[in-house]
Symmetry: D2
Subunit: 347 residues, 4 copies
């Protein structure tokens, strides 16, 4: 085991980078030594706020700073490939935020470069590390619900904050790419296999964007299970994440939305207190999400990444899984573009 | 207003006939004077149990008994047309259990015959009379959630009791015909319009039947709303009915499943007490549905039918609505048979 | 059975009178022919709004109007005795809103007068007619939870609207008299017996009133069950009604609060729509109570009262039950006044 | 900061010791080097199961084994004082499971000995470290609900597993000592003060024990808040933990019971899988508690204890807090013994 702390360079200064910086501060044996951002002022502020020593606005400036072992790639989707290749070329381990690429082609290039460089590469699918989802995976594995016949996942809110999400050129797609990727990864892990065909409808119903703001994809799995993936940017009322599993002998229903939180608060006054990500009301009934960094899986995900670097062991979720998710989303978009029939997913 | 009570002949002796017989006993101004069933012993037992004076096993025997004003048509789907035509020919008012026909063609014949006979005809969509659904319709109408962008309905359990449901020849279809018809009717009422195209997947994933045991249909409405209709016969854990509405300014989520009932009971012993329709457990956590006949809308539906007969006013939900639902389901099956693309619904 | 409709005079024009007037309009075989109120303008408006033909502002004026069979006594607590005696003297049947009197002494006088007059007298404890509570009573009776060891009821909001509730001289007491009376009646019915001693704490914690704004009473029943009665006027967030039953073999938990309603609505805008009694927010998460007149038991209560008048049968819940509730509350106040020890309830 | 790991001796081999051993295995910088138990076979098995090197059955044997810095005192309540004094005399830091003593007198002796020895002493009130409760404390502190007028805590199940809990000589009391202590500690922390008087009823309603199997205590706080503490060993249906806070401007309701978990599972078959502490059903609806060691606060509690030892800082919750809780419980029992009136809590 490596005794000296793992040194990480954070790539990006957005919402998810901030979230993960909180986790690094809670972990032992790891240190964020540098951050890379486009905007100098913003990057400097991020570094100061999160206690990172070096703020760089170019890859060269980053490399010219203190040495580091790994990058945490939290840049917009259209920058994943470029910086993934740079990091691999520099033999830096990579934890890449979802989705791996805007397309399977991009994801494949990242995977190939990482494999060739012999680095540790981890795909940032936090849900696979979230305690609630691990429990569900374990319940299914225990046979409590019998053979899984149907599984539905849903993630919904009223759309992301950063402008790049809304431009297909930068994001690669809308609600499906942003949130559907989580659900597809969970389905694959739950069933232990990959779907062979997909049917999808992905229209833009409300927002001014060239991305879909709602996506509904059906996935056929070799074992006979039907997966139903729902991603929506047109749902008011805060973040909704649900999962339902229908088995021959039982079922599971999971809800991580505000109303399902164990703490429920009523306030007749306007309040400025933070309650949860994507909350849309500031009075009346409010529902805090406790320890989001823990419940959403970021803590265990990053801890696992650090341990893999220390021990040289391959992570449980690598770029290989990310490639598969991009492949399925490519096929889903092809189905939607063709008017919604079934499309094969080329293996 | 007619002063003498409306006299009804019950056609059928199954689950739904029993349910409705309970409602008739609670209502004033109406009386069930006869019942028609195929099996003599069963029909006689039904009549005795529910206090109906005349038990007939043929239409002629029914007509030869005490006079009546209306029939409550609760026979298997493949008998709707035959007995609908007989009743219309005899100038008896008709309340017909959902779906109106096995196909739009059958439904149209019933509608035409009823119109020609000048009788009161009501389509038995109880959900449109259920207090909870009426409240939701009213909330949407009040503008509380803005313009409706997406609506999802789901009805699920592990399959019906009577054998005829499972044979396409008799039922006309599986989960979609059995339960999807409810949701489609609710969507149409909620949006005040009919969908123009549908995309559907309706496989048989588990049961030994030539009907689909799960159906997922997407509906495009002229105003831009996307409807998502889910019907499942492969879900354990009792009856589930949910509705979700995403609007530009808000959302509604509704759940009528066991876990959402206000009364929750734990018993460590096996219990024989009735708790709810389709319950699959007899110990541990149990959830009673209080006053099912009221909450499911049967009370208000039948009362409205009786009042329409008394006053000669056209019911709020007639065979015309039933024809539309059958038309949409026909198109959904056509989409499913063609591999899931979008199909126009011929108006 | 009386064929002509039962004619009722409504005494009072407040919240509860309005509520009940809605029920009378839905029932067949009964008609509200007159209303009595103190304030002429308000009484006239009430009559017009609810379609009542005669508006009186004195007992004499009421008696001088159209004939009636019964009164529905919805006046402030300090008027129950006066008008109860007047009605009994005039041989009018009485349905009296809870509590029967401000004290057991008052309640006894009403009971004696009613019995002497030979009229039908019903104590207006709506919860004993509410479908949810009837279901709970039935579950307990079925043995599903074994022997009841402990039962807790709670009713809470932030205080009533009408000024008279807040003056002990007019109301007879605060939260205990206003809401605790419901719970005590439910306990007695659930257990089939009356408590023998009570311990109570009934302070004024927040509001400017000479009544208690929270009351906590423990009740010892002869069979060994412990009852826990909680009434609060200091709870924000809308109306809360809960009941919990601990038995040797199981338990029941019941919640009729907003968050437990099956319909949940989110609106980002301020809305003026009515959602439920005592709601304190007009945006964010809102929870409609569907068919309050039905779920709270008013419908079945009034229907039963009318049927008892028609058939001459004694109501299920009479002034006798009201006297018992007043007696228990008197003992609870005595305990609270003495610093909270156990007090015997003189039988 | 101490660089070498903190070495802990576990005192006890019961349920809570097992629970905490799981936490130690997840923490860095701490190591359990020995375990002390009465029964040789059981102690040996515990050591092997949890990977502890040294199994002792006497204090001398423990001291004769590998060196250690601290003890985690998880013995039955009647052993707290004896082993607390031994540990203090040996200058070992102490984390003592709740309650500190059977009585305030015992607790005071432990506190005095620990202070005199100059050791780090922590009172094992895990709820004060549980993420959910920390969130609630923070919401109250933020002013979201205004001034707290009333707070109720409840903890209930059908009684503990180990025989010593049921003997007053060994436990010091029943449900109040076992579970009420948690709630009192939470109230005190939430309000930032200690109650001045208490009223209590603590009968034995069902079990064969000389301890109370239900306890209801009202607590008056100097600032005017009323605390309501409920502890029950007579409630079926698994572990229930609830907290409700009524403030002038809002309220909080918290529920950590099975039905409030975000994952809900239905299984029609009997299952042997572990779902949660104190579950009483093995089929039907089941509710897993995810990461109990984290949600119940054990992780953060032990981590804090270890960090305090490393840094020499006084823990947030020390024996001083334990003494206060015992004092309040002594007064509660005095009130119950005297028939339930208010008793002063001598400061």
């Amino acid at each position: 085991m490596t005794q000296s702390p793992v040194r990480v360079a954070m790539l990006g200064t957005g919402f998810i980078a901030e979230f993960r910086a909180q986790v690094y501060r809670r972990l032992q044996g790891v240190e964020v030594v540098a951050v890379l951002g486009r905007d100098p002022a913003r990057t400097k502020a991020f570094a100061e706020r999160t206690g990172i020593g070096h703020a760089a606005t170019s890859w060269d400036a980053l490399m010219g700073g203190p040495g580091f072992d790994a990058v945490d790639l939290c840049l917009p989707n259209n920058c994943h490939l470029e910086y993934g290749l740079l990091a691999a070329a520099a033999a830096k381990h990579i934890l890449c935020e979802k989705p791996l690429g805007r397309t399977e082609a991009e994801a494949r290039q990242m995977h190939a470069a990482a494999d060739k460089a012999g680095i540790i590469h981890a795909y940032g699918e936090n849900m696979l590390y979230a305690p609630d989802f691990r429990e569900i995976l374990d319940i299914v594995a225990s046979g409590t619900v019998g053979k899984v016949l149907w599984v539905r996942g849903r993630e919904a809110h009223f759309g992301p904050h950063s402008p790049w999400f809304w431009k297909r050129e930068e994001s690669g797609g809308g609600a499906l790419v942003d949130m559907g990727c989580h659900l597809i990864a969970v389905f694959n892990m739950l069933l232990g296999e990959e779907p062979t065909s997909v049917m999808c409808h992905a229209p833009t119903l409300h927002h001014a964007t060239d991305c879909e703001d709602i996506a509904l994809a059906l996935l056929r799995y070799p074992g006979g299970t039907l997966g139903q993936c729902e991603a929506s940017w047109i749902q008011r009322g805060g973040m909704q994440v649900t999962l339902e599993v229908s088995g021959t002998e039982g079922m599971i229903t999971y809800d991580r939305s505000g109303l399902s939180q164990p703490i429920k608060v009523f306030s007749r006054n306007q309040t400025q207190r933070y309650f949860s990500e994507k909350v849309e009301s500031d009075r009346g009934w409010l529902f805090p999400t406790v320890d989001e960094y823990w419940r959403y899986g970021y803590y265990d995900q990053i801890r696992h990444f650090v341990e893999c670097i220390q021990s040289g062991v391959k992570p449980k979720v690598t770029f290989a899984e990310g490639v598969v998710v991009n492949r399925i989303m490519d096929a889903a978009y092809a189905s939607a573009a063709a008017g919604g029939g079934w499309h094969e997913i080329a293996g």
